[in-house]
């Protein structure tokens, strides 16, 4: 049975976060008894030379005990917590809304509905 440590390593490069979960099985397999030492060794194995922050897994957005990745693209590291970057999310939503408005304006000029357009391009 595979079980995981309660802490994860987070790398935030400004364009999103990478999160590594560590298994007890690997810690034993590689001969470590100290979690911090194992985490440092493992991160150097998969991302040599890259700095990371260790946080509690409970500090990751969750729903019903599972990571809630509905806003995964907006996750950022804030101190020892992973949270949704609301500024980025709102900017993306505004951009999306603007694109939709532009599209509707073109459809209005063409006097054609979205459904009719989709039938044409299929």
């Amino acid at each position: 049975m595979i079980t995981y440590l309660n802490r994860v390593a987070v790398i935030d490069n400004g364009n999103g976060v990478s999160i590594t979960r560590f298994s007890h099985n690997d810690m034993t397999k590689y001969g470590y008894s100290d979690e911090d030492a194992f985490i440092a060794w493992y991160m150097n194995k998969i991302s040599p030379g890259t700095s990371f922050t260790v946080v509690n897994e409970s500090e990751i957005p969750q729903t019903n005990g599972q990571w809630d990745k509905s806003d995964r693209e907006f996750w950022k590291l804030n101190g020892n917590k992973v949270e949704v970057d609301q500024v980025k999310k709102q900017a993306k939503e505004a951009e999306k809304a603007q694109k939709e408005a532009d599209k509707n304006a073109v459809l209005a000029k063409l006097k054609i509905s979205k459904e009719e357009l989709q039938k044409l391009i299929k």
């Binding site: 999103g16 976060v17 590594t20 979960r21 493992y42 998969i46 809630d68 990745k69 693209e73």
Partner: protein, 291 residues
Amino acid sequence: MSSFTITNGGTLPDTSNKSDFYTLIGQATVTVNGLVNADIGAGAGIVSSKLDLSSITQNLVMTSKILKQAKGADVASVAGSITLGDDGNYFDITGTNAITSITAKAAGTQVVLQFDSTASLVDGSNLKLNGNFQGAAESQIHLICDGTNWFEISRPPTATLSSANQTEMEAASSTAVYASPGNINWHPGVAKAWVKWNGTGTPAVTSSYNMDSSITDHGTGMWTLSITTDFSSANWVPVGMRRNESATNAGFLSVSDVSAQVAGSIRVDGVNYDGTYQDTSNNYLVCFGDQ
């Protein structure tokens, strides 16, 4: 000259009496009935030429004793027929020739042949073997004769084969060694690692071989998985699949272009049919290459 019988419970003639002695030694045959073990003293010698058991009708019974058989003179292999001596049941076979037959002996005769070199026995003719027997130093085979043919009783399973080492497994060419469970991973045609993982929600490895169960989630449909015993270089081959869990997530796994391929881990992407990244529950990766 006549016969003289000593019966069970009877008495020998008084050989201190000259006439009785001459009577005894003057018989053409002296038959002894009811002779028991106790009648033969420990110091009694039996001339080997006089011990002929060929006509006895009783079973030969030994209690708490070992049947000691002799090693006969070495027999040189020839490309053809050989004859084993009558001086033993165990023979060293010398030389390197392929023996095609062995002169038959009485039915029931068993022999063990020990090969000193690479002579061989060819299945066929009067050699009824479980396939050809390729000898090697100290290899042995046990045969029994039915008066015409020699039948193989047994041969040690490792008499001619040894476990392939890493070099032999990686060369993948020898047919004189066998692949053992502990070394089979070195064969180039064998997967060096595999892993199944769930990429939805909290990512987790489900099962694996030579892969770590720690896992990195880089974003939707992006993971890094690491190998326990690394490949010898970055030039190894990953093969990935994922399960289509609905009509809208038919897609594939691909090697990520974010980072260069390395020897000890791999970053893979889960891509949906429309080109977007996607998490799925059942992802599979198998890895081939040189370790």
